[in-house]
């Protein structure tokens, strides 16, 4: 009888370890999936940049340097670039283009252009989708970090050499810009 109890407890223990292991793997995969979502959204924005730059540069004489910078930064985005560098370049593009968008007020002809209005709407949409993807990524990362740092999952995570991952943080410059007009606050 005692043997059965011991076997039963051991089986339950093994099942529990399998559950913990699978849970870590699932959460790790979830972070990859979340990063993939950001990548998709960034690609969407990447495709939008040439049209936007072409449209605004006909009107925005004073922002010519910024627009040239944006085009240069875009050309630096290649597939073989590490993810961290890609994200940095995208953040740089985003900052520069947001400053361009805020200068639109000084160009009434541009503001009246139907083509620009459509592109601006698409830009806003993409920015918000990127923000949504980042939030999903951060939730997935927090969930994953909590799992691998709490007992008893931490024992398995240590054995498998799983490390904590960093959440996306908004750059200081972007934080300062948020209150500029709340222009894109939905």
């Amino acid at each position: 009888m005692e043997d059965y109890v011991i076997i039963g407890v051991l089986v339950l223990l093994v099942l529990y370890v399998i559950y913990l292991y699978n849970n870590i793997i699932r959460k790790n995969n979830e972070t990859d999936k979340a990063f993939g979502s950001i990548d998709v959204m960034l690609k969407k924005r990447y495709d939008l940049i040439p049209n936007l730059v072409e449209t605004v540069k006909q009107y925005m004489v004073h922002e010519a340097t910024v627009l040239t910078d944006i085009t240069k930064l875009r050309s630096m985005l290649t597939d073989d670039l590490p993810d961290a560098d890609k994200v940095d370049i995208h953040n740089d593009i985003s900052r520069k283009l947001n400053s361009v968008m805020l200068s639109v007020e000084n160009y009434p002809d541009l503001k009246a252009s139907q083509n620009f209005l459509k592109l601006q709407a698409a830009w806003n949409e993409t920015e918000e989708q990127i923000s949504a993807a980042r939030r999903f990524y951060n939730t997935a990362i927090t969930d994953y970090n909590n799992t691998i740092q709490t007992f008893p999952s931490s024992l398995i995570a240590n054995q498998l050499h799983y490390k904590t991952k960093k959440v996306f943080e908004i750059a200081e410059a972007e934080r300062a810009n948020v209150s500029a007009k709340n222009l894109f606050n939905s």
Partner: protein, 307 residues
């Protein structure tokens, strides 16, 4: 939206003259109804007395006036109810809607189409019967919105939902299905049904108060967050606090659906209360609240691709 002062001056100038004949009719018929009812009740008391004294045939004789006056009271009540309902909805409510909105459509005896309810996926049970009235449709800015008093029952006749169902166009495009449900709106098994049949997952959001008040389920984690921005979450919370009801939202096929439980029969004439300004205000407030969803949730903000 009109202010209370504007509503009061509209009541004095337009509604009051229209309400006067209705009020006269109401007072007259309530008086008749009460007289018949009191006589019928007196007859019942006489019958009870006769039963105790055991006088033969007297029971039969005293039953006749009770039946006559009881029937008169009932028919007076029904006639008055129908007359007031018809004139209130046709004249008063229509004038009130005209005062509040530029573009509207009002069909008093129309229910919401069952296909729309199905599309919303807000009711995770098989709907056998859809009843409803006071169907209203508006165009507020760029947003089209409609709502209707709705009662849903199952095959066994069990009423599963009574309240207001709202359908509005949403200002962002999306392909997923997202549900924002007040805690306790659905049972655990109903949520499980959603997970299985609609392939939804629970969405964990950053706003602690929002997480405390709502359960969010979606078929797409990123799109759910695209819809539920921090600002929009706060606005949903504010709207919930404003209605003081355990409401539920769904975002499906670029539309926003909302179910608000409500046990009061709205937009009906008050048979035993005068047609005063307060009565008009009681009808104005729900109209303002339900159509106010457009402004409260900023649905007219069109800065995205969807125009």
């Amino acid at each position: 939206m009109k202010t209370e002062d504007e509503l009061r001056s509209f009541y004095e100038s337009t509604l009051k003259p229209l309400l006067e004949p209705l009020e006269q009719y109401r007072v007259e018929n309530v008086g008749k109804f009460k007289t018949y009812l009191y006589i019928a009740i007196s007859c019942i008391l006489i019958i009870v007395f006769i039963i105790f004294t055991r006088i033969p045939f007297a029971i039969l004789i005293s039953c006749i006036p009770m039946i006559v006056f009881g029937s008169l009271a009932s028919s007076t009540f029904t006639k008055m109810d129908n007359h007031l309902k018809l004139h209130f909805k046709k004249e008063i409510l229509t004038e009130l809607l005209k005062f509040m909105f530029d573009k509207y459509e009002y069909i008093p005896r129309q229910r919401i189409a069952p296909a729309v309810l199905e599309e919303s996926s807000l009711f995770p049970f098989s709907i056998y019967e859809v009843e409803g009235e006071d169907f209203m449709r508006f165009k507020i800015g760029e947003t089209s919105i409609m709502f209707c008093e709705t009662t849903l029952s199952t095959f066994q006749g069990e009423i599963k939902f009574t309240g207001i169902f709202i359908d509005a166009s949403f200002n962002k495009s999306f392909t997923s299905k997202t549900f924002v449900l007040s805690k306790g709106y659905n049972t655990f098994f109903q949520n499980m049904k959603r997970h299985i049949f609609l392939n939804t997952e629970q969405v964990k959001l950053e706003d602690a108060q929002f997480e405390n008040d709502f359960t969010v389920l979606s078929t797409d984690q990123v799109e759910a967050r695209y819809i539920l921005t921090p600002g929009f979450m706060q606005r949903l919370l504010d709207y919930k606090n404003k209605t003081k009801k355990g409401l539920a939202f769904s975002f499906v096929e670029n539309r926003l659906y909302c179910a608000i439980p409500e046990f009061m029969d709205l937009f009906e004439p008050a048979l035993f209360e005068p047609f005063s300004f307060e009565f008009i205000k009681e009808n104005y407030e729900p109209l303002k609240l339900y159509t106010g969803l457009v402004d409260d949730l900023h649905l007219n903000v069109r800065i995205w691709s969807k125009q």
